[in-house]
């Protein structure tokens, strides 16, 4: 009998490298869709309002934000369309925070699957992001309605919207993957995340506009938070008076990219022990 290992489709050995197999990930896209569908369906089962919740959240946050920060604290500044700017900020922020939370919890929520079935573990955080994107799409619908009501037509810049949404997801996946992998072992992480998100809400330009509120000498430092570029970019895409300066943008992008790549690597490194420690 001749030794023809090539004939075996599946060779199982000690882990070497990071085992990142893009082709395999692609082959699992149906699983990703099924998991995302599961969480969307399950989330709004036995609720009266169903998907309407995806509308209520951003609208309520926009209303509150405009009222508290705009009127009470006078953060609305010279921007004429403060409420629209807040809505844009809130939408991206919700996308980011939902991605991050979903990502971190995804392994623990799917612990049973991790212990019992093989599939590329990256599918779990990815499906959490897909779920958040659906809510985000509903939010963009709300945004369109509000823009129409304010008789504010979008410019060609609006075509870059998907880009900023993707960037928000990537910005969330970076820390999300790090924390998800850590959370598999140390459940403390789960308790840190809401706290991080609360802090993030204030150090990101959700309820204020960067160009109006942050001194230009501080902006490069401020841009170390990747969500700064994401929110500014998103606003730039829909508001004619929004400004997007290149240096902070580049810094934010670089930070997001470093976090994302290192996050994927760390996650892949840790995933070999997920089934044993989770």
């Amino acid at each position: 009998m001749s030794e023809t290992p090539g004939q075996y489709e599946r060779v199982i050995g000690p882990p070497r490298g990071l085992g990142l197999d893009i082709g395999e990930l692609w082959a699992c896209r149906e699983l990703l869709a099924a998991l995302a569908k599961r969480s969307i369906l399950a989330r709004y089962k036995q609720t009266v309002m169903g998907m309407l919740w995806a509308v209520v959240r951003p609208v309520a946050m926009m209303g509150l934000g405009t009222l508290v920060f705009g009127r009470l604290f006078g953060l609305s500044g010279d921007s004429e369309r403060y409420s629209l700017a807040v809505l844009a900020g809130v939408l991206v922020w919700l996308l980011f925070s939902q991605c991050l939370t979903g990502c971190v919890n995804s392994l623990v929520t799917g612990a049973e699957m991790v212990r019992k079935v093989y599939f590329p573990r990256l599918i779990l955080p990815a499906s959490a992001c897909a779920t958040a994107l659906v809510d985000f799409l509903v939010g963009v619908g709300v945004l369109a309605v509000v823009m129409a009501a304010q008789q504010h037509g979008p410019s060609l810049r609006a075509l870059t919207l998907p880009l900023w949404a993707m960037l928000a997801v990537i910005a969330a996946l970076g820390p999300g993957l790090w924390l998800a992998a850590l959370n598999a072992r140390y459940r403390d992480v789960m308790h840190v995340v809401p706290f991080l998100i609360n802090i993030g809400l204030f150090v990101s330009p959700v309820f204020y506009v960067t160009s109006a509120r942050v001194a230009s000498s501080w902006r490069p430092l401020y841009a170390l938070n990747p969500m700064v570029a994401v929110i500014d970019g998103f606003r730039w895409a829909i508001l004619p008076d929004a400004v997007l300066s290149p240096l902070p943008l580049a810094i934010s992008l670089a930070v997001a990219a470093v976090l994302f790549v290192s996050g994927v690597m760390f996650f892949q490194y840790m995933q070999r022990v997920f089934a044993d420690v989770i």
Binding site: V11, K116, V117
Partner: protein
């Protein structure tokens, strides 16, 4: 001869176990650990080889049994072969799609309907949407849940739930099927279905790896078997021979009382602290089987099933008293509980000789918590059932059937 479907060479899986490590290792412990480390001697890490130097081939269409006591590495072997956890050394090569009946119902979401769960679970098991759509009606018919398709599975009875889950797994049609009978808790009918499906798969020329505690099933269904002991293959060969070798050792050890009580579950929350099994003289000259089990829990728990297994010398399970069947459960436990199994007139039901007593704790129909198949040995007295002067023993069968004999006039 064609290439084997599964080729396992020198497979090993090591777990690092730190002593005095808290079971709940939160970040706090890690930080506390890091702070105090310089002032302490280093924590001794112990290597635990759950699997070591395991080598075997499985040919196409062959059914290989995997036997061994708990913790011998059987489940780890399946986990490695299904790629859930990577091996530490060695290599396993497989041809074709691997399916397993150990992941029945994985990923089921209670809020979703039966229909939604079929697609979801199918995707988790690696089926394409199209594939599921083609087999959808077949799956539903097999599970006998047509009427409840659009009801959330949280409203299903546990029987319906298991049937649906099993139906999906059974229709995966893999080239290699991994079956862990230990995990296939459920009612007897379900277990039979499980075994039936396995036989069908094997007859269809596909390859099966069958982990079981049921020696007669292994003898019956498997061509060859491997006996794992402490992570190593203690015996590999024809199924009957492997089972015999295993049983000889198991019986010997059970007699010597190798089980050191207490035995706790994985989470160290509940366990058996003592077991006493004997056959005593009962009423009217008959014998009484007495099994006393002391159970201890470290926190309040409810609905803990207690099961007993009696195996004869040929490895035939003569009685499997599972909580799903008997409803012998401890409804509430917080601390100690004593369970007493009694069978009056055991010698009327069982032929004389030695029997191996197994014991387990379980969440009925969900999972085993502790399972020891060879916990003790009891001896049922030999009896001259037919008044012929011959005492029957296990050479003469399993039950002392009280048969009468008469010659009738034509």
């Amino acid at each position: 001869m064609s290439q084997p479907m599964i080729r396992v060479e020198g497979l090993g899986k090591r777990y690092r176990i730190g002593h005095k490590r808290p079971t709940a290792d939160g970040l706090r412990h890690v930080i506390a650990d890091a702070v105090t480390r310089p002032f302490r001697r280093r924590i001794e890490l112990e290597d635990l080889w759950a699997l070591r130097d395991v080598t075997f081939d499985v040919a196409e269409g062959e059914v290989l049994g995997v036997i061994g006591r708990n913790g011998a590495g059987k489940s780890t072997l399946l986990k490695v072969l299904s790629r859930i956890t990577p091996p530490t050394e060695g290599v396993a090569r497989l041809r074709g799609r691997v399916g397993s009946l150990l992941e029945v119902g994985t990923g089921f979401h209670p809020e979703l309907t039966g229909r939604e769960n079929v697609y979801l679970n199918g995707a988790i098991l690696g089926m394409r949407r199209r594939e599921i759509a083609v087999r959808f009606d077949e799956i539903v018919a097999f599970a006998e849940i047509e009427k409840f398709l659009d009801m959330p599975v949280k409203r299903y009875s546990s029987g319906m739930y298991v049937r649906l889950a099993f139906a999906i797994a059974a229709h995966l049609q893999p080239e290699i099927l991994l079956v862990d009978e230990v995990l296939a808790v459920g009612d007897v009918r379900f277990q039979k279905k499980c075994l039936g499906k396995m036989g069908e798969v094997a007859r269809g020329g596909r390859t099966v790896l069958f982990v079981s505690h049921n020696m007669s099933a292994v003898r019956l269904l498997c061509d060859r078997a491997v006996w794992l002991e402490g992570g190593r293959a203690a015996h590999l060969g024809e199924a009957g021979a492997t089972v015999d070798a295993y049983l000889r050792t198991a019986e010997q050890e059970a007699q010597e009382g190798p089980v050191r009580w207490p035995v706790f579950d994985k989470s160290e929350q509940i366990g058996i602290t003592n077991l006493r099994a004997s056959v005593a003289a009962g009423e009217g000259g008959s014998s009484r089987l007495e099994i006393d089990v002391a159970v201890r829990s470290r926190r309040p728990m409810t609905n803990i099933g207690v099961g007993v297994l009696l195996t004869n010398r040929c490895g035939i399970v003569v009685a499997e008293l599972g909580p799903a069947v008997t409803n012998f459960v401890i409804e509430r436990i917080d601390g100690q509980a004593h369970c007493a199994f009694r069978c009056e007139g055991i010698d009327r039901y069982l032929i004389g000789g030695e029997y191996i007593v197994g014991i387990w704790l379980a969440r009925p129909r969900v999972e085993y918590l502790v399972r020891i198949d060879h916990a003790a040995v009891v001896t049922v007295p030999l009896r001259d059932v037919y008044g012929s002067g011959v005492n029957l023993d296990q050479q003469h069968g399993v039950v002392p059937l009280p048969v009468t004999f008469a010659i009738r006039e034509p």
